[in-house]
Point group: C2
Chain length 197, copies 2
Protein backbone atom coordinates (compact mmCIF):
# COMPACT_ATOMS: atom_id res chain seq x y z
CA UNK A 1 0.00 0.00 0.00
CA UNK A 2 1.54 3.32 -1.09
CA UNK A 3 0.64 6.26 1.14
CA UNK A 4 0.95 9.98 0.45
CA UNK A 5 4.30 11.37 1.56
CA UNK A 6 6.20 8.13 0.86
CA UNK A 7 8.98 8.32 -1.71
CA UNK A 8 8.06 6.83 -5.09
CA UNK A 9 9.05 3.23 -5.91
CA UNK A 10 12.70 3.09 -6.96
CA UNK A 11 14.24 -0.11 -8.25
CA UNK A 12 17.72 1.06 -7.21
CA UNK A 13 16.58 1.43 -3.61
CA UNK A 14 14.77 -1.91 -3.70
CA UNK A 15 17.89 -3.62 -5.04
CA UNK A 16 20.05 -1.96 -2.37
CA UNK A 17 17.69 -3.21 0.35
CA UNK A 18 17.70 -6.78 -1.00
CA UNK A 19 21.49 -6.79 -1.35
CA UNK A 20 21.91 -5.49 2.21
CA UNK A 21 19.43 -8.08 3.52
CA UNK A 22 21.18 -10.95 1.76
CA UNK A 23 24.60 -10.00 3.04
CA UNK A 24 23.41 -9.39 6.61
CA UNK A 25 21.32 -12.58 6.76
CA UNK A 26 24.36 -14.49 5.56
CA UNK A 27 26.80 -12.80 7.94
CA UNK A 28 24.94 -12.76 11.23
CA UNK A 29 21.99 -15.11 10.61
CA UNK A 30 18.32 -14.31 10.23
CA UNK A 31 17.57 -13.82 13.91
CA UNK A 32 20.36 -11.31 14.51
CA UNK A 33 19.76 -9.30 11.33
CA UNK A 34 17.41 -6.47 12.32
CA UNK A 35 15.40 -4.43 9.83
CA UNK A 36 17.16 -1.39 11.30
CA UNK A 37 20.62 -2.83 10.55
CA UNK A 38 19.57 -3.84 7.04
CA UNK A 39 18.24 -0.34 6.42
CA UNK A 40 21.47 1.20 7.71
CA UNK A 41 23.56 -0.97 5.38
CA UNK A 42 21.31 -0.06 2.44
CA UNK A 43 21.53 3.64 3.34
CA UNK A 44 17.76 4.05 3.74
CA UNK A 45 15.25 4.59 6.52
CA UNK A 46 13.89 1.47 8.27
CA UNK A 47 10.34 2.60 7.44
CA UNK A 48 11.19 2.32 3.75
CA UNK A 49 12.23 -1.32 4.21
CA UNK A 50 8.87 -2.08 5.81
CA UNK A 51 7.12 -0.07 3.10
CA UNK A 52 8.68 -2.06 0.27
CA UNK A 53 8.98 -5.48 1.86
CA UNK A 54 6.61 -5.79 4.83
CA UNK A 55 7.80 -8.04 7.65
CA UNK A 56 11.28 -9.50 8.09
CA UNK A 57 9.92 -12.87 6.91
CA UNK A 58 8.58 -11.24 3.73
CA UNK A 59 11.97 -9.59 3.21
CA UNK A 60 13.73 -12.94 3.59
CA UNK A 61 11.43 -14.47 0.99
CA UNK A 62 12.14 -11.64 -1.44
CA UNK A 63 15.89 -11.71 -0.74
CA UNK A 64 16.34 -15.39 -1.50
CA UNK A 65 13.99 -15.71 -4.47
CA UNK A 66 15.54 -17.48 -7.47
CA UNK A 67 17.46 -15.03 -9.70
CA UNK A 68 15.43 -13.91 -12.73
CA UNK A 69 17.97 -15.44 -15.12
CA UNK A 70 16.87 -18.94 -14.07
CA UNK A 71 13.82 -18.75 -16.34
CA UNK A 72 15.80 -19.07 -19.59
CA UNK A 73 17.86 -21.87 -18.02
CA UNK A 74 14.75 -23.93 -17.40
CA UNK A 75 13.34 -23.16 -20.84
CA UNK A 76 16.55 -24.37 -22.52
CA UNK A 77 16.34 -27.66 -20.65
CA UNK A 78 12.92 -28.36 -22.17
CA UNK A 79 13.96 -28.12 -25.79
CA UNK A 80 15.41 -31.62 -26.25
CA UNK A 81 14.78 -34.41 -23.71
CA UNK A 82 17.76 -36.37 -25.06
CA UNK A 83 20.14 -33.54 -24.15
CA UNK A 84 18.50 -32.23 -20.99
CA UNK A 85 21.47 -33.23 -18.76
CA UNK A 86 24.01 -31.42 -20.89
CA UNK A 87 21.77 -28.35 -21.34
CA UNK A 88 21.10 -28.19 -17.62
CA UNK A 89 24.70 -28.40 -16.41
CA UNK A 90 25.81 -25.79 -18.98
CA UNK A 91 22.92 -23.46 -18.14
CA UNK A 92 23.47 -23.91 -14.41
CA UNK A 93 27.20 -23.16 -14.54
CA UNK A 94 26.51 -20.23 -16.88
CA UNK A 95 24.19 -18.74 -14.25
CA UNK A 96 26.68 -19.23 -11.43
CA UNK A 97 29.51 -17.63 -13.41
CA UNK A 98 27.72 -14.32 -12.74
CA UNK A 99 29.10 -12.87 -9.48
CA UNK A 100 25.66 -11.47 -8.60
CA UNK A 101 23.95 -14.85 -8.90
CA UNK A 102 26.82 -16.57 -7.11
CA UNK A 103 26.77 -14.21 -4.11
CA UNK A 104 22.98 -14.42 -3.97
CA UNK A 105 22.92 -18.22 -4.02
CA UNK A 106 25.81 -18.68 -1.57
CA UNK A 107 24.09 -16.27 0.83
CA UNK A 108 20.87 -18.27 0.46
CA UNK A 109 22.64 -21.54 1.25
CA UNK A 110 24.40 -20.04 4.27
CA UNK A 111 21.16 -18.59 5.59
CA UNK A 112 19.28 -21.84 4.92
CA UNK A 113 21.72 -23.74 7.13
CA UNK A 114 20.99 -21.51 10.10
CA UNK A 115 17.34 -20.56 9.68
CA UNK A 116 14.39 -22.88 9.07
CA UNK A 117 12.41 -20.31 7.05
CA UNK A 118 15.36 -19.86 4.68
CA UNK A 119 15.73 -23.64 4.48
CA UNK A 120 12.09 -23.87 3.40
CA UNK A 121 12.71 -21.29 0.69
CA UNK A 122 15.84 -23.10 -0.53
CA UNK A 123 13.87 -26.36 -0.64
CA UNK A 124 11.38 -24.57 -2.87
CA UNK A 125 14.11 -23.14 -5.09
CA UNK A 126 15.91 -26.47 -5.53
CA UNK A 127 12.85 -28.53 -6.26
CA UNK A 128 9.63 -26.70 -7.12
CA UNK A 129 11.09 -23.69 -8.93
CA UNK A 130 14.17 -25.12 -10.60
CA UNK A 131 14.03 -28.89 -11.03
CA UNK A 132 10.50 -30.13 -10.62
CA UNK A 133 9.19 -28.35 -13.74
CA UNK A 134 11.78 -30.34 -15.72
CA UNK A 135 11.02 -33.74 -14.21
CA UNK A 136 7.27 -33.10 -14.37
CA UNK A 137 7.61 -32.18 -18.03
CA UNK A 138 9.51 -35.43 -18.63
CA UNK A 139 6.60 -37.29 -16.98
CA UNK A 140 8.54 -40.20 -15.44
CA UNK A 141 7.83 -41.87 -12.09
CA UNK A 142 9.68 -40.49 -9.02
CA UNK A 143 9.62 -36.95 -10.48
CA UNK A 144 10.26 -35.36 -7.09
CA UNK A 145 13.14 -37.66 -6.10
CA UNK A 146 14.74 -37.20 -9.54
CA UNK A 147 14.43 -33.43 -9.09
CA UNK A 148 16.11 -33.64 -5.69
CA UNK A 149 18.99 -35.89 -6.80
CA UNK A 150 19.62 -33.47 -9.67
CA UNK A 151 19.24 -30.30 -7.61
CA UNK A 152 21.42 -31.46 -4.72
CA UNK A 153 24.16 -32.66 -7.09
CA UNK A 154 24.19 -29.20 -8.67
CA UNK A 155 24.19 -27.41 -5.30
CA UNK A 156 27.12 -29.54 -4.07
CA UNK A 157 29.04 -28.88 -7.27
CA UNK A 158 28.43 -25.13 -6.99
CA UNK A 159 29.48 -25.12 -3.33
CA UNK A 160 32.75 -26.85 -4.22
CA UNK A 161 33.50 -24.77 -7.31
CA UNK A 162 32.29 -21.33 -6.23
CA UNK A 163 31.93 -21.47 -2.43
CA UNK A 164 35.02 -23.45 -1.43
CA UNK A 165 37.19 -22.84 -4.50
CA UNK A 166 38.22 -26.50 -4.74
CA UNK A 167 40.98 -26.90 -7.33
CA UNK A 168 41.05 -28.08 -10.08
CA UNK A 169 37.22 -28.03 -10.00
CA UNK A 170 37.09 -24.23 -9.60
CA UNK A 171 39.26 -23.63 -12.68
CA UNK A 172 37.96 -26.48 -14.85
CA UNK A 173 36.31 -25.27 -18.06
CA UNK A 174 32.60 -25.81 -18.56
CA UNK A 175 33.12 -28.42 -21.32
CA UNK A 176 35.13 -30.60 -18.94
CA UNK A 177 32.53 -30.42 -16.18
CA UNK A 178 29.68 -30.94 -18.66
CA UNK A 179 31.39 -34.07 -20.02
CA UNK A 180 31.50 -35.56 -16.52
CA UNK A 181 28.27 -34.30 -14.96
CA UNK A 182 25.93 -34.01 -17.98
CA UNK A 183 25.45 -37.80 -18.32
CA UNK A 184 24.74 -38.06 -14.56
CA UNK A 185 21.97 -35.48 -14.74
CA UNK A 186 20.63 -37.09 -17.94
CA UNK A 187 20.37 -40.39 -16.08
CA UNK A 188 18.80 -38.87 -12.94
CA UNK A 189 16.23 -36.99 -15.01
CA UNK A 190 15.33 -39.50 -17.71
CA UNK A 191 16.54 -43.09 -17.08
CA UNK A 192 13.45 -45.29 -16.51
CA UNK A 193 15.71 -47.81 -14.69
CA UNK A 194 17.12 -45.26 -12.23
CA UNK A 195 15.20 -46.50 -9.22
CA UNK A 196 13.94 -49.92 -8.05
CA UNK A 197 10.40 -50.84 -9.27
CA UNK B 1 53.01 -28.66 26.66
CA UNK B 2 51.63 -29.78 30.04
CA UNK B 3 52.71 -27.62 32.95
CA UNK B 4 52.58 -28.37 36.67
CA UNK B 5 49.35 -27.17 38.30
CA UNK B 6 47.22 -27.76 35.19
CA UNK B 7 44.40 -30.27 35.51
CA UNK B 8 45.12 -33.67 33.96
CA UNK B 9 43.92 -34.44 30.42
CA UNK B 10 40.25 -35.42 30.41
CA UNK B 11 38.59 -36.65 27.24
CA UNK B 12 35.13 -35.61 28.52
CA UNK B 13 36.30 -32.03 28.94
CA UNK B 14 38.01 -32.05 25.56
CA UNK B 15 34.84 -33.33 23.90
CA UNK B 16 32.74 -30.68 25.67
CA UNK B 17 35.08 -27.96 24.43
CA UNK B 18 34.97 -29.23 20.84
CA UNK B 19 31.18 -29.56 20.92
CA UNK B 20 30.81 -26.04 22.28
CA UNK B 21 33.24 -24.67 19.68
CA UNK B 22 31.40 -26.37 16.79
CA UNK B 23 28.01 -25.09 17.85
CA UNK B 24 29.22 -21.55 18.51
CA UNK B 25 31.24 -21.33 15.27
CA UNK B 26 28.15 -22.49 13.40
CA UNK B 27 25.75 -20.14 15.20
CA UNK B 28 27.63 -16.85 15.26
CA UNK B 29 30.53 -17.43 12.85
CA UNK B 30 34.21 -17.83 13.54
CA UNK B 31 34.98 -14.17 14.09
CA UNK B 32 32.25 -13.61 16.68
CA UNK B 33 32.90 -16.84 18.62
CA UNK B 34 35.32 -15.92 21.42
CA UNK B 35 37.37 -18.46 23.34
CA UNK B 36 35.70 -17.05 26.46
CA UNK B 37 32.19 -17.76 25.10
CA UNK B 38 33.22 -21.25 23.98
CA UNK B 39 34.63 -21.95 27.44
CA UNK B 40 31.44 -20.67 29.08
CA UNK B 41 29.30 -22.94 26.91
CA UNK B 42 31.54 -25.92 27.69
CA UNK B 43 31.43 -25.10 31.41
CA UNK B 44 35.20 -24.73 31.74
CA UNK B 45 37.74 -21.98 32.27
CA UNK B 46 39.03 -20.17 29.17
CA UNK B 47 42.59 -21.02 30.19
CA UNK B 48 41.73 -24.70 29.85
CA UNK B 49 40.60 -24.16 26.26
CA UNK B 50 43.96 -22.55 25.45
CA UNK B 51 45.74 -25.31 27.35
CA UNK B 52 44.11 -28.10 25.33
CA UNK B 53 43.73 -26.43 21.96
CA UNK B 54 46.12 -23.44 21.68
CA UNK B 55 44.88 -20.57 19.51
CA UNK B 56 41.36 -20.11 18.14
CA UNK B 57 42.62 -21.21 14.71
CA UNK B 58 43.99 -24.42 16.25
CA UNK B 59 40.65 -24.97 17.98
CA UNK B 60 38.81 -24.51 14.68
CA UNK B 61 41.06 -27.09 13.04
CA UNK B 62 40.40 -29.57 15.84
CA UNK B 63 36.66 -28.85 15.88
CA UNK B 64 36.11 -29.54 12.19
CA UNK B 65 38.42 -32.52 11.77
CA UNK B 66 36.80 -35.49 10.00
CA UNK B 67 34.92 -37.72 12.47
CA UNK B 68 36.91 -40.76 13.53
CA UNK B 69 34.34 -43.12 12.01
CA UNK B 70 35.41 -42.01 8.52
CA UNK B 71 38.45 -44.29 8.65
CA UNK B 72 36.45 -47.53 8.27
CA UNK B 73 34.37 -45.87 5.51
CA UNK B 74 37.47 -45.24 3.45
CA UNK B 75 38.86 -48.71 4.15
CA UNK B 76 35.63 -50.33 2.92
CA UNK B 77 35.84 -48.41 -0.34
CA UNK B 78 39.25 -49.97 -1.08
CA UNK B 79 38.19 -53.59 -0.87
CA UNK B 80 36.70 -53.98 -4.37
CA UNK B 81 37.32 -51.42 -7.14
CA UNK B 82 34.32 -52.71 -9.10
CA UNK B 83 31.97 -51.83 -6.23
CA UNK B 84 33.65 -48.70 -4.88
CA UNK B 85 30.69 -46.44 -5.82
CA UNK B 86 28.15 -48.59 -4.03
CA UNK B 87 30.40 -49.08 -0.97
CA UNK B 88 31.11 -45.36 -0.76
CA UNK B 89 27.50 -44.13 -0.93
CA UNK B 90 26.41 -46.73 1.64
CA UNK B 91 29.32 -45.96 3.98
CA UNK B 92 28.79 -42.22 3.58
CA UNK B 93 25.05 -42.34 4.35
CA UNK B 94 25.75 -44.71 7.24
CA UNK B 95 28.11 -42.14 8.75
CA UNK B 96 25.63 -39.28 8.33
CA UNK B 97 22.80 -41.28 9.92
CA UNK B 98 24.62 -40.68 13.22
CA UNK B 99 23.28 -37.43 14.73
CA UNK B 100 26.73 -36.61 16.12
CA UNK B 101 28.41 -36.85 12.72
CA UNK B 102 25.54 -35.02 11.07
CA UNK B 103 25.64 -32.06 13.46
CA UNK B 104 29.42 -31.95 13.22
CA UNK B 105 29.44 -31.93 9.42
CA UNK B 106 26.57 -29.45 9.02
CA UNK B 107 28.34 -27.12 11.46
CA UNK B 108 31.53 -27.47 9.44
CA UNK B 109 29.73 -26.61 6.18
CA UNK B 110 27.99 -23.61 7.76
CA UNK B 111 31.27 -22.34 9.19
CA UNK B 112 33.11 -22.96 5.92
CA UNK B 113 30.66 -20.72 4.07
CA UNK B 114 31.42 -17.77 6.34
CA UNK B 115 35.08 -18.22 7.24
CA UNK B 116 38.00 -18.80 4.88
CA UNK B 117 39.99 -20.87 7.41
CA UNK B 118 37.05 -23.24 7.86
CA UNK B 119 36.64 -23.37 4.07
CA UNK B 120 40.28 -24.46 3.79
CA UNK B 121 39.65 -27.21 6.32
CA UNK B 122 36.50 -28.39 4.53
CA UNK B 123 38.44 -28.45 1.26
CA UNK B 124 40.93 -30.73 2.98
CA UNK B 125 38.20 -32.96 4.41
CA UNK B 126 36.38 -33.34 1.08
CA UNK B 127 39.42 -34.05 -1.01
CA UNK B 128 42.64 -34.95 0.78
CA UNK B 129 41.20 -36.79 3.78
CA UNK B 130 38.09 -38.44 2.35
CA UNK B 131 38.20 -38.82 -1.42
CA UNK B 132 41.73 -38.41 -2.68
CA UNK B 133 43.03 -41.56 -0.95
CA UNK B 134 40.42 -43.49 -2.95
CA UNK B 135 41.16 -41.94 -6.33
CA UNK B 136 44.92 -42.13 -5.73
CA UNK B 137 44.57 -45.80 -4.86
CA UNK B 138 42.64 -46.34 -8.10
CA UNK B 139 45.54 -44.69 -9.96
CA UNK B 140 43.59 -43.10 -12.83
CA UNK B 141 44.30 -39.72 -14.45
CA UNK B 142 42.50 -36.66 -13.01
CA UNK B 143 42.55 -38.18 -9.50
CA UNK B 144 41.96 -34.80 -7.85
CA UNK B 145 39.06 -33.77 -10.11
CA UNK B 146 37.46 -37.21 -9.70
CA UNK B 147 37.78 -36.82 -5.92
CA UNK B 148 36.13 -33.40 -6.07
CA UNK B 149 33.22 -34.46 -8.31
CA UNK B 150 32.59 -37.37 -5.94
CA UNK B 151 33.01 -35.36 -2.73
CA UNK B 152 30.84 -32.43 -3.84
CA UNK B 153 28.07 -34.76 -5.06
CA UNK B 154 28.06 -36.40 -1.61
CA UNK B 155 28.09 -33.04 0.22
CA UNK B 156 25.16 -31.78 -1.86
CA UNK B 157 23.23 -34.97 -1.24
CA UNK B 158 23.86 -34.75 2.51
CA UNK B 159 22.84 -31.08 2.59
CA UNK B 160 19.55 -31.92 0.87
CA UNK B 161 18.80 -35.04 2.90
CA UNK B 162 20.03 -34.02 6.36
CA UNK B 163 20.42 -30.22 6.28
CA UNK B 164 17.34 -29.17 4.32
CA UNK B 165 15.15 -32.22 4.90
CA UNK B 166 14.08 -32.41 1.24
CA UNK B 167 11.29 -34.96 0.84
CA UNK B 168 11.20 -37.71 -0.40
CA UNK B 169 15.04 -37.65 -0.37
CA UNK B 170 15.19 -37.31 3.43
CA UNK B 171 13.00 -40.39 4.00
CA UNK B 172 14.27 -42.53 1.11
CA UNK B 173 15.91 -45.75 2.24
CA UNK B 174 19.60 -46.27 1.68
CA UNK B 175 19.05 -48.99 -0.97
CA UNK B 176 17.04 -46.57 -3.10
CA UNK B 177 19.67 -43.83 -2.89
CA UNK B 178 22.50 -46.32 -3.47
CA UNK B 179 20.75 -47.62 -6.62
CA UNK B 180 20.65 -44.09 -8.05
CA UNK B 181 23.91 -42.58 -6.79
CA UNK B 182 26.24 -45.62 -6.56
CA UNK B 183 26.67 -45.89 -10.35
CA UNK B 184 27.40 -42.15 -10.57
CA UNK B 185 30.20 -42.38 -8.00
CA UNK B 186 31.50 -45.55 -9.67
CA UNK B 187 31.76 -43.64 -12.95
CA UNK B 188 33.35 -40.54 -11.37
CA UNK B 189 35.92 -42.66 -9.55
CA UNK B 190 36.78 -45.33 -12.11
CA UNK B 191 35.57 -44.64 -15.67
CA UNK B 192 38.63 -44.05 -17.90
CA UNK B 193 36.36 -42.19 -20.37
CA UNK B 194 35.00 -39.75 -17.77
CA UNK B 195 36.95 -36.74 -18.98
CA UNK B 196 38.19 -35.52 -22.39
CA UNK B 197 41.70 -36.75 -23.33
Amino acid sequence: VTRPGRPPGDSGTRTAILTAARSLFAEVGYDRASIRAIARRAGVDAALVHHYYGTKDDLLTAAVRLPGAAGPLLASAFTDPDRVGDALIRGFLGLWESPTVRDHMLALIRTALTHPAAAAILRGVVTREAMLPITTHLALPHAQLRAELTGTHLIGLALGRYGLGLEPLASADIDTIAAAVGPTLQRYLTDPELLPR
